[in-house]
Every structure is written in structure tokens, then in C-alpha cells.
């Protein structure tokens, strides 16, 4: 499913307005431990997390993730947004907790298969 459609169907708020939304999202990974994401995410994953600081952009760039989805209404730090805009990493927000949003992503066909 294209990022744009995913965001619309799950009412995700895009916090990085200029990020491209045409990427195809097929898989996702949920974790708040950066070393875990670095070790276990795969290229193209949508990363679901509670972490909001600058390092999440570094991880997304390193692993070539399709985007970051912040749960529980978390607000990205200002320097996170700045770097995400520069590196063209889409960051979304949802008021839902991880369990709920991951379930909805799965229902839309986004899997955690490695």
C-alpha cells in the first residue's frame, strides 16, 4: 500500500510536510530500543516507536526505512523534525498506542515478516 493511502486510512498526522508519500509500504517493525531496530529492521519497514529524539532519524536513514510512526500522541523533538526534513524521512503521529496501531497496520496488509 502506498504511504499516502496508509496515512489516510489510519488518520496518521504527517509531521514532515514535504516528505514524499508515494513509497510502497509492505512491512513494519515496532520497537523502542534503537539497537534492536538497527539489528532487526529491514529496508522499507515502517518503524513504530515511542522514541522522539534525533537518533530515530539516524536509524531510519541507516536502515533505509520507509518512515517513522510515533505512537501515543508523541511529538517529535524540533531538531528531529529538522533533520527528518533534510534527510527526507517521513514522520507520522498517531494518538493510538503501539498495540492498537500495529493491529490496524496488519489489517491493512502491512506485515512484520522478515
Amino acid at each position: 500500500m502506498k504511504m499516502k493511502e496508509l496515512a489516510e486510512r489510519l488518520t496518521l498526522e504527517l509531521t514532515t510536510p514535504n516528505a514524499p508519500m508515494e513509497a510502497e509500504v509492505k512491512t513494519g517493525y515496532a520497537s523502542d530500543l534503537l539497537s534492536d531496530v538497527l539489528a532487526n529492521s529491514i529496508e522499507g519497514d515502517l518503524w513504530v516507536t515511542r522514541q522522539t529524539h534525533l537518533n530515530i532519524v539516524a536509524i531510519a536513514v541507516m536502515r533505509d526505512l520507509s518512515g517513522i510512526l510515533l505512537v501515543n500522541g508523541s511529538q517529535p523533538d524540533p531538531d528531529t523534525l529538522e533533520k527528518a526534513a533534510e534527510k527526507i524521512v517521513p514522520i507520522f503521529r498517531t494518538p493510538l498506542p503501539t498495540f492498537e496501531i500495529v493491529g490496524r497496520l496488519y489489517q491493512l496488509g502491512i506485515s512484520g515478516r522478515r
Binding site: 523502542d32 530500543l33 534503537l34 539497537s35 538497527l38 515511542r50 522514541q51 522522539t52 529524539h53 534525533l54 537518533n55 532519524v57 539516524a58 536509524i59 536513514v61 541507516m62 533533520k83 534527510k87
Partner: protein, 196 residues
């Protein structure tokens, strides 16, 4: 807990429950050795050795309202997952020292968080307690001592709303000035070393 400042707040709340009249927070960053050391020292009622040995056990608490006390165990876990450790030193009637050691640039080292907000909450919420905050980055030091603040403030108490804003901003700016490592080094990959 997502930020170290939240761990520190939790540990200091233990000090306040132990009736401390002075709490000293010392944070040392040693970039050469890649270590971050957080030390909280209080002059509260302290603990006998058998209790001090158990405070890092998540199912142990001295509070009757809870079945588990998580402040120390969570800090221990945070330190250990970043190549560090936690020590508890306590003497009954004299006070307690909690020391947590982290690898400064470990990928999973939590951000420092807002120490300005944390100290502002503690200082204005506990005007009868003296707080010392020392943050050292290699050779540079930021220092805030409420004993010195009292001398300057005179009749204005530490609970005054203007104190909250002052402490919050002074700490934030002070840490920025000494280049406190808000994040582990991974940010440098994108940010460049000069802005650390």
C-alpha cells in the same frame, strides 16, 4: 522511562521520602573514556545493609502503598543495557548514594531529557530542601546550588513562580554552554561533530 532526567527525578523522590534535607546530583561525562556517570547523594535516613542490598530488586519496596519499587531497578536496567552498572551505598542515619554508570555513546543510552524542567520541579516543589546540581563535561562544569540561590533571593522563597522559570532556563542554557551530551553519538553521524 525514555529520558535519564525521569530516572533522576524518580531517584530523588526516594531521597525526599527518606527525609533528606540536601540532595546532590552529579553528572560526569568523560568523552575520552566514553562514560556517563550519574550520582545522586542525599543526607536522608539511609538504609541498613540488608535493605540497601535489595533496593535494586524490582519486587522490593519500603513503601506500604506499593508492592514494588521501581526507581532503582529501572535505572539499573537502563545502565546495564548500555554497558554500565549501578551501585547503592547507604549508611543508616547518614544518607544514601546511588551511582549509575553508562557508556556515553551507547546506541540505547536514553537521552538526557530536560534537566532544567526536572530541577525546577524539584526545587520549587521542595523549598525546604537544598539541592546541588553539578554537571561536568570533560573540563567544564555547570553548577547550581540552592544555598547560593537563597542568599541572592533574600526574602523571595524558592517556591516563588519566578524561580521555576529561572532554574529551568539557567540549567538548559548552562548545559548547552558546556556541551552536555543530550544524545549518544549516533546523532553526530547526521549532525556533524561541531554541533554536539
Amino acid at each position: 522511562m525514555l529520558e535519564l532526567s525521569m530516572h533522576i527525578l524518580d531517584i530523588i523522590q526516594n531521597s525526599l521520602r527518606a527525609k533528606a534535607s540536601r540532595v546532590e546530583v552529579r553528572i560526569r561525562e568523560d568523552r575520552e573514556k566514553d562514560r556517563l556517570i550519574i550520582e545522586v547523594q542525599d543526607d536522608g535516613q539511609g538504609m541498613p545493609p540488608e535493605i540497601a542490598k535489595r533496593v535494586a530488586d524490582p519486587f522490593y519496596t519500603t513503601r506500604p502503598s506499593r508492592v514494588a519499587g521501581l526507581g532503582v531497578p529501572l535505572l539499573k536496567e537502563a545502565a546495564e543495557k548500555c554497558g554500565g552498572h549501578l551501585e547503592v551505598h547507604s549508611r543508616e542515619g547518614e544518607g544514601t548514594q546511588i551511582l549509575a554508570d553508562f557508556q556515553l555513546d551507547h546506541f540505547d543510552r536514553a537521552p538526557l531529557g530536560d534537566m532544567g524542567e526536572t530541577l525546577a520541579i524539584l526545587i520549587t516543589g521542595n523549598p525546604g530542601v537544598n539541592f546541588l546540581y553539578l554537571h561536568q563535561v570533560d573540563g567544564q562544569t555547570y553548577r547550581l546550588d540552592t544555598r547560593e540561590m537563597r542568599e541572592v533571593l533574600g526574602p523571595v522563597g524558592l517556591e516563588d513562580p519566578s524561580v521555576f522559570a529561572f532554574v529551568r532556563e539557567d540549567v538548559r542554557q548552562g548545559l548547552k554552554k558546556i556541551g552536555a551530551a543530550t544524545f549518544p553519538k549516533i546523532a553526530e553521524i547526521l549532525r556533524g561533530p561541531e554541533t554536539r
